[in-house]
Symmetry: C2
Subunit: 339 residues, 2 copies
């Protein structure tokens, strides 16, 4: 017993394949008896059309892909990626697209796997999480060459032909630092994993500007680079320069808190903390971490909206969208001190 095809359904319903196809795609004007009949057979059989045949004939798969460059280190330490996946998935479903996630584990993957993903007839468009830890992202170049419509989450550095949605890290940093200044902090440190990512540069910019605007001198000793994993060492070094606040990557919060505990420095009394991003971890630390947060729901909707726009109207001119971020005040910066 072979699988049912649309023709079988047509026969069973006593109509032509065309009619079944129309019913399946809701393309029938009035509700005729033919339609009713088809609907009945459809329900009885639980028929689902063959996806490949449909894609081939219609030249659309109704699938959008989300590309995630994921050397284990990156993704496992970055729950934000998951959140992106969730909101984009949701946004796609709302617009009647299916979302497929693809993990590109290595550079090899990018060369072997990416071409299979960008093949025509597979997905209709792609959303990419820009690898913002490289000045030039080869992935984006490859995508441009592939001809597949796509948008980037994160600002591409060296290509101004790419459509993207990004968040404004400079302003976010400015806001965070300004908040700390308002709370009376003066020796505010900036801790980053690396200075290379564009995001880090933006934060540094916002950091400097906030201080300068208020006439607080920038002490270069208070700008620390942790490297990918050693938040512990970097914080210890930082402590020698007596900061009274640290603007840090949220994922390093545990390391930082441990150093402070060992040094008997109390949060937020002796030192205030604000995290770059709002990971679940921020709510679990002791004290809970004040953090900068991105409006991920809206970002997801706009990524999908922008992509559909490009799929329909072409990639020219490139679209750009910069989202503001928000400061979520918790206990680590002392703003909620009951005093």
């Amino acid at each position: 017993m072979h699988d049912l095809t649309l023709e079988d359904i047509a026969r069973m319903a006593g109509v032509s394949p065309s009619t079944v196809s129309r019913v399946l795609n809701n393309l029938v004007g009035t509700r005729s008896k033919a339609r009713e009949q088809v609907l009945k057979v459809l329900a009885e059989t639980g028929f689902q059309p063959n996806a490949a045949a449909r894609s081939l004939a219609s030249q659309r798969s109704q699938v959008i892909g989300l590309l995630i460059p994921a050397p284990a280190s990156t993704i496992l330490h970055n729950p934000a990626v998951l959140q992106l996946a969730e909101v984009v998935t949701q946004a796609c479903h709302e617009r009647n697209y299916l979302l497929s996630l693809f993990l590109l584990g290595s550079d090899t993957d990018e060369q072997q796997i990416l071409p299979k993903i960008t093949r025509k007839g597979f997905v209709d468009g792609l959303i990419v999480r820009g690898a913002d830890d490289r000045a030039s992202d080869p992935l984006l170049h490859r995508l441009s060459d592939s001809g597949m419509p796509f948008v980037s989450f994160g600002r591409p550095i060296d290509l101004d032909t790419i459509s993207y949605v990004a968040t404004d890290n400079a302003t976010a940093a400015y806001t965070a630092i300004a908040h700390l200044l308002t709370l009376g902090r003066r020796r505010i440190a900036l801790l980053v994993g690396s200075l290379e990512p564009y995001a880090s540069q933006e934060r540094l910019t916002g950091y400097r500007k906030a201080l300068t605007d208020r006439g607080v001198p920038v002490d270069e000793q208070l700008i620390a680079v942790a490297g990918m994993s050693d938040g512990y060492g970097a914080t210890r070094r930082l402590l020698r320069h007596a900061p009274d606040a640290i603007f840090l990557p949220t994922r390093m919060a545990l390391d930082v808190l441990r150093v402070l505990r060992e040094a008997n420095v109390r949060v937020p009394d002796n030192i205030a903390l604000i995290g770059f991003e709002d990971l679940p971890l921020a709510q679990q630390t002791d004290p809970p971490l004040t953090a900068v947060s991105q409006p991920m729901g809206a970002i997801g909707k706009h990524l999908v909206g922008m992509l559909l726009d490009i799929m329909e109207n072409g990639a020219e001119p490139p679209r750009r969208l910069l989202f503001p971020q928000e400061l979520l005040i918790r206990q680590s910066c002392g703003a909620m001190r009951t005093s």
Copy 2:
């Protein structure tokens, strides 16, 4: 200028479409000059065959799907899911399949989206992360009905027709508790998020058996249920019964450690800790957490291998595979005390 098709390539290379197809699929015995010619044109044009057409004609998409039931709460708190995705992706790539990840955010998704995923011509098979927090998983039933080949990661409770790979939580718990007993602990507590998941039941079984086997009485007061998020409260309550060790969900490590710190109970001197699973978090806590670990790499390979086997040879009889787990000894249980 329309996209190139295989016929175009054939024309350009002066051969028939069949020949191009054969070269594309490495189906040519000897290396003839025709083959060379095609290869040259292929390289020059960067031609990629249309995925839909290929799937339709060959009745295979060379794509495997990984289904992740992901109400935000679950996935965001469960980095283990990411690890699963990574190892399965890797295993698929090694066997020349593409892996697509699908997030099923809600029950609605399962009803709206799942049928699109199980349509013929879309993916060739599915791997599902069994939602082990429900006694009966409707998703697995739906999949069974769909006719799509699939395997589950995690043991299905109420269906013995399903092929799966799982890990042996009972033995793992037994090992962990035995280790604590060896270290001289006697009042060993078991903390779980909920008792419902099958995994919890298995751990409880192993816990009881380990104690009983050594003649240590089971104190029911030392078995605590935290609920999804309140590890803090549960640990405080637990503390009233003076445990000298806790076997806990690793994701609750921060909460537990906070309570202990507040109560001036030192780890591992006064209390030993072992986590259920080996999340990245386990290495970041202070002290680093001894934890039970699953051989994820091997699990990924076997999931894919089992699925391919089913795709080729049918789902009967169901395959089953139970993996042992390993105890990763770090500082939180005192086994490495330098004394």
